[in-house]
Every structure is written in C-alpha cells, then in structure tokens.
Symmetry: C2
Subunit: 427 residues, 2 copies
C-alpha cells in the first residue's frame, strides 16, 4: 500500500477515486438479451444458459428432492453456524419493525402511515467460485420478516446443471418460495418481464458482476425497483497507534480478497502504524489461497497519514466508505460524527467479517460513495410505506378554505371545486 502523508484537500478527490468501469459495450449486450427474453421467454433463457453457463437445461426450477439432497450433504457444524447467523440476522431485522404512525394533524383530519410488504421480490445470488449463501441469509431473512408473498431466488447453474448445496439449503431454510437455475443478464431479464418459469417481480436484490449490475440498472427502466446501484466492495479503516496492526492488516486483506477491483484504504494518525500494517499485510498475504486477487487489490490501495482527527473525519465523509472500521482512542468522535458510511465497525474485536456473516447487521451495503444517499439493505427495503387519510365534516371545514386559496393560486380550479362542492353542502 502506498503511503500518502497529509495530502492537501485539493488532492482528495483524485486520491479517493474508485477504480472506474466502462459500461458502454456491456449495455449493448444487456439490451440484446433483455429483448430476447422479453420475446422468447424460457427458450431464450435456455439458449443463454447454454452459451454462458455451458450447460443444456430443459427445466430451470429446482425440484424439492434436489433441495433435500443438498440439505443432507451439509455438515451438522455448518448448519449450526448458519442457524446462529440466521438467528442474529432475524433478531436485528425484526427489531427494525416500526409501528403505524397515526396523527390527527388538525381536528377532524386523521393521517397515518403504514408499511406493507412488496408482494413479489427477486433475489440474485451469483455463482462462480464461492457459493455466497451468506447473501441468501441477508436477503431472504428480512424478506420473510417483511412478509413478502413471493420470494424468487435465481442463481446460475454450474456445468453439471446444479446450484451449490449451501445456497439451496439456506434458501429453503429462509422461506424462499421458488429457486431457479438461471444466472447473469438472463436472470435479471427474466425477473423483469417474467417467463414461463420465472415470475415477474416488483423489486430485485443482490450482488453480481458488471453484467448483472448493468442489467439491474436496465430493469429499473422497465419499472422494476432494485436494492441499490452496485460497485466493487470497499473498506476504509481509521486507526491510530492504539490499534493492533495485525488485526487491521487481516481486515484489509479480507476485503482485498473479494477481487482485484476491491478497494481498501487505511487512514491513520501515525506513519509508524502505517508501516507496521504494510509489514503485516505482506506477511499475511503469503498464505492466502486468493493471494493473486488480494495482491492486485492491495496494490491499488492507499495508506493516508493525517495529522488530526477532524481532517480524517472530513476525508472519510467525503469518501463515504461501504465498510468503515474505526480502531482509535477516540472511537466515539468518529461514531458520533460520521455522516456517510454503509456500516461502521467499532474497536479491535469487530472485524468486517463479523458483519459479513453473523453479527446480525446486513452485508448488502452501498458502495462507490452511494452511502451519501442510500441505506444498506434493511427491513424497510422489503416494504413500502403508504399513507392514509380520513377527514370528517369538521376536518374539511378546518382545512378546506386554505386548500381553496392554494389551489386557486396554483391555477388548479378543479382542485378547488372538489373542496368548494363539499363546503357548500356543509353550510
């Protein structure tokens, strides 16, 4: 990690730049596949699955005995681990339930706000080298708490036409109603338009590569909501000399192993600490199976030495990290004042891994500075809030005259008439 010492504010924006992506070409491919799926449904799904996943499938729906088989193959220990994580995630997301907000704003005018479930949702779980069953937990558990009617999970088949056992097991454990073997752009297109096998949904959740990300973006053009725009995962650690450099290095590496485009940043008040972390990173890197990826990510990463905490906070807020670990003697200063971060991890014994898997918080978080405007996935992501109002005769008399004046000033006579008609009858 290259070390930068007290960089001038004018250099921050360049220094904090995320690795950028070009999406021009991808859009053409995504558009073509969307059109094919819209027109030809399952037939097109089969064609693209053959092309991209190298497997010929005639049915995409996972059958019950496949799920049972998968469940039998998971070790007792892993099942217990998944159960522990599920229990914590359930507790924390259940605690996010809110009551109906009811208010009589003025005599006779009752207004309330209620949250109701998004009825049909789609979860996308990538395939590839690592079976991300932890993401199944993070999406299906709150969906079930929110009481969504239809929870459809799509994940690409491997060359044997299968989805990883861990994903199938976790999906059935968390109330997924339909598991479908379809991946990539064709999965997102299927969830957008619906096919013979894939139900059309109202909102799509889940991570994916650049193709999936662009496909989700396109889905919004067809009226389907998405959890949030995605980008490569990232971690910023704020540490002073009170922190443990070996722990900090292990956290930076756990982020770096996600992929070559992952970004990790260390902000520290101590040059010496930055150097210690660099040493530790070097030594811990050696034994990692995903060493190559992690090394690339580490090479793109930065240590920034800042000589006061106010400046550090300002810099972190400008970056808006997805994951923010703070290990200093002044943690409360950062916790109380940070404005932009997806999830904050406090102290030596709170590694990012904890939130990735089992503490109870959600790991689907805004990357790419989106923490400035977006929440991470939480219970509300599976609900929408609706308002209601009921006005009595007394109520319309109380607010009617104001509405008449305002509607007239906006030049909307029919809006005024709707009030006047009622007020006249009440005279």
């Amino acid at each position: 990690m290259k070390i930068y010492i007290n960089p001038d504010k004018s250099e921050w924006s360049e220094l904090l730049k995320r690795p950028s992506e070009t999406v021009g070409d991808i859009e053409t491919i995504v558009n073509a596949i969307f059109n094919a799926i819209k027109t030809s449904g399952d037939k097109a799904v089969a064609d693209y699955t053959s092309k991209f996943d190298k497997v010929e499938l005639t049915t995409f729906l996972v059958a019950e005995d496949e799920i049972n088989d998968a469940s039998n193959k998971i070790s007792k220990e892993l099942k217990e681990a998944i159960n522990l994580a599920k229990s914590n995630i359930e507790k924390f997301h259940s605690a996010q339930k809110t009551d109906r907000v009811f208010l009589e704003t003025i005599e006779g005018v009752e207004c309330w706000q209620e949250k109701r479930p998004i009825q049909k949702i789609g979860l996308y779980i990538p395939g590839g080298t690592a079976p991300l069953f932890s993401t199944v937990l993070m999406l299906a558990v709150p969906a079930q708490i929110a009481d969504c009617d239809e929870i459809v999970l799509c994940s690409p088949p491997n060359k044997d036409g299968k989805i990883a056992d861990e994903i199938l097991y976790t999906a059935q454990l968390c109330g997924v109603t339909k598991i479908i073997k379809v991946g990539g752009i064709q999965a997102i297109a299927g969830l957008t338009f619906g096919t013979e096998t894939i139900p059309k949904v109202y909102k799509i959740f889940g991570p994916g590569n650049q193709y999936v990300t662009v496909a989700k973006q396109l889905a919004t053009k067809y009226g389907v909501a998405i959890d949030m725009p995605a980008g490569p995962s990232e971690l910023l650690v704020m540490a002073d000399e009170s922190a443990n450099s070996a722990y900090v290095a292990s956290d930076l590496l756990s982020q770096a192993e996600h992929g070559s485009d992952s970004q990790v940043i260390l902000v520290t008040s101590s040059m010496k600490f930055a150097e210690q972390v660099n040493q530790e990173v070097k030594s811990q890197l050696k034994d990692l199976p995903r060493k190559e990826m992690a090394t690339n990510a580490i090479n793109n990463s930065k240590s920034i030495v800042v000589d006061n905490f106010e400046t550090a906070l300002e810099l972190i807020d400008e970056y808006g990290p997805e994951h923010f670990i703070v290990c200093t003697n002044y943690n409360n200063f950062f916790v109380d004042n940070i404005g932009n971060a997806g999830s904050v991890f406090i102290g030596d014994y709170t590694p990012e891994s904890a939130g990735d898997y089992a503490s109870g918080t959600n790991h689907t978080l805004p990357t790419n500075g989106f923490s400035k405007a977006y929440s991470g996935v939480n219970l509300d992501s599976f609900l929408k809030s609706m308002t209601f109002q009921k006005i009595s005769r007394k109520g319309i008399k109380n607010i009617g005259p104001a509405i008449e004046l305002m509607a007239e000033a906006e030049g909307l006579q029919a809006h005024k008439n709707a009030i006047t008609k009622r007020l006249n009858d009440l005279k």
Copy 2:
C-alpha cells in the same frame, strides 16, 4: 368515460395500461446537455436557459432582495393558508421520526441502526403556467426536519428572468438554503455535476416533464440518487351507491386537469352510479378553465363496473394507483387489504385535493404502478440508515467459530483469518 362491465381477468392488463411514452429521442438530447454542463458549467447553463426559457441571465442565484420583494407581494390570506398547510405537513412528517434501533443480538455483540441526513439535496420545481409552491412545501419541510445541510432549489426563470413569488416565498419559509433560476435538463445536469453556481448534490427530488424525468434517470447513472421514477399523475376511485356522485366527479376532474396524459379510473359496484358520475363529470367540466386538458384526460379514462368487492380489490391491487379514493359502505375492507397504492383517501369528505395541499401527508407519490415497490416521499426519503456494531472479546468468542466455518465454506480464507487471529490471541 367509457364504461366496462365485469371485464374478464384476461383483459385487465390491457384495460389498466397507462398511456405510454416514447423516450428514445429525449435521451439523445438529455445526454448532449449533460455533457455540455459537465464540460462548460455555468456557461452552458446560460446557453440552454437562453435557448429553452428565452431569457438571457448572467447570474442564476436568487438574491435576498428578490425573496423579500416576493414575500411582500403575497397576500396575507395566502400566507396564512400556506402556514396552515406547512404546520400539518410538519406535524405529520415529524411524527415519522424513528429512534435508534439498538440490540445485543448475542452476548457481547451490540448492533444498532441509526438514520442520518443526506447532507446535500436538490429540489426541482417546474415552472410553466402553475407555480407549484405546494411541492416546495412537500419537499423542503421534511428535508428541514431531516436536518439536511444543503437544500438547493432549482426552478426555471420566466421570460422576465424571475421565479414565481409564491415559490420564492415558500422556499425561504421552509429553509431552502439556495434558490437557483435554472430549469429543465440543465438544472438536473447542474445538480448532478455541480457548476460554478449550482452545488453538486447527493439526491434530487421533484416532479417535471418528460425531459426532466429522463434527466433524473440519467443522473442516477452518475451516482446521484433520485426520489423515484416519475410518470403522469393518476387517480383511482372505488365507490358504491352510498357515495356522492358529484363529489366523485369533482375528484376525478381535479386529477384530470393536471394534463391530457393524466389517468382517472372509477371502479364501482353499480352501473347506475357509473352513469351518474358520467353525467356529473359532463356538467362540472363546462366551467373549468383547464377544460381542454381535463376533457382529453377524461376521454382516456375508464369506469369499470365490478360485481363484487374481492374482485375490485384484486383489480385495484394489480393497477397500484398513485391516489386511491375509497367511498363505499365497506371502506375498511379496502383500507385493510389494499397492497399497492401511494396514498389512500377514505370517505366522502376526503378529496385528493386535501392530500395535495394541506392535510399533512405528502403529495409526491409513486405513479405508473411503482406503488408496488416504492414509497411516496416521506421523512425517510431525506435520511439514510446506517448500521453500527461493537463486539467485545466475549462477543467474538460467541460468533467467531460460526464465522470461520461460513467463510471457509464460501472459500474466503482471509475473512476467516481475520477471526482466527483474534480468537487465537484470546485463547
């Protein structure tokens, strides 16, 4: 309004289709203006303002004396009306504040969720024939309650280079920090990239024509969030013979006057009532200043006679109306069971106008069936939720082994290492 009697379910989707728009050409224009504003800032803003708004401006920022002048020109009565509306909107949106959610999910693992303001937001208020100061109330009031630092309002100048007095007055009343005379695509581009005058913001709110809608969509590609995708406004009224046909007609017309592309639908259990409403609409239409627009909208609109309430509810849920008025002898059935609607208006004395202006609920609502997945604007639209966690030695011992197992099963060794390092030290 054309009357449809007990349409077959297979015809619903065609019957409930919204008027569609073609956005192909618009995208090219929007892209060109975004590029120009990104490159040339205020200079490009001036050029497009000259081109589209037919006025030459050298400064875009509204000066304090312009606001004072505007304030002096608003009648005392209108000010009082605005104050009443503001007070109700304030009360209802303040009531939506939520507490920090704090939970020890397992001994030693403390997780919490807090909402913090989106620091910089942009409000777009259209110009044109009607000065929509009510929308200023609906956006700026909750932004102020949320404690957003920077609230920038953009609205196009008229041919005299001015913004309507009502908009200026309401903006300063509700804590807008900067008012800028810029409209259309150039306003959205300015808020996206920032110019010498227009601050770059994190989220853009507000209605607009098709150009503004496409521009807001494009802004999301550059990492700026938006309130929600937009479409023409719409109203669905569910009424039986217990309802007042004159009131229902006045409500349908108040929606219809928004524009020729507005959509109004009446669902009723009574053919006779549908005919009465048609009569009333005809007679009330005559005196409307925006008669032509309203007539066009009414011509596109439908009365659907359905002979049982369960079917009616199912049909309404499939449509997912922005505004839903229910005036029947069984209002609770609809209120309790409706899954998809932006805002629900209950009973004879609760016209849509009430929520448009002064009852306290927000009038920025999901159109185009987006109520299936999106909330209307509410206090949370100006906040993002962040999670925090703090784990003790005891806590990491409790969840660490499960994390190790799960990380290993996902093939993420560095995630496991981050735990193992800590657990080893605690042995």
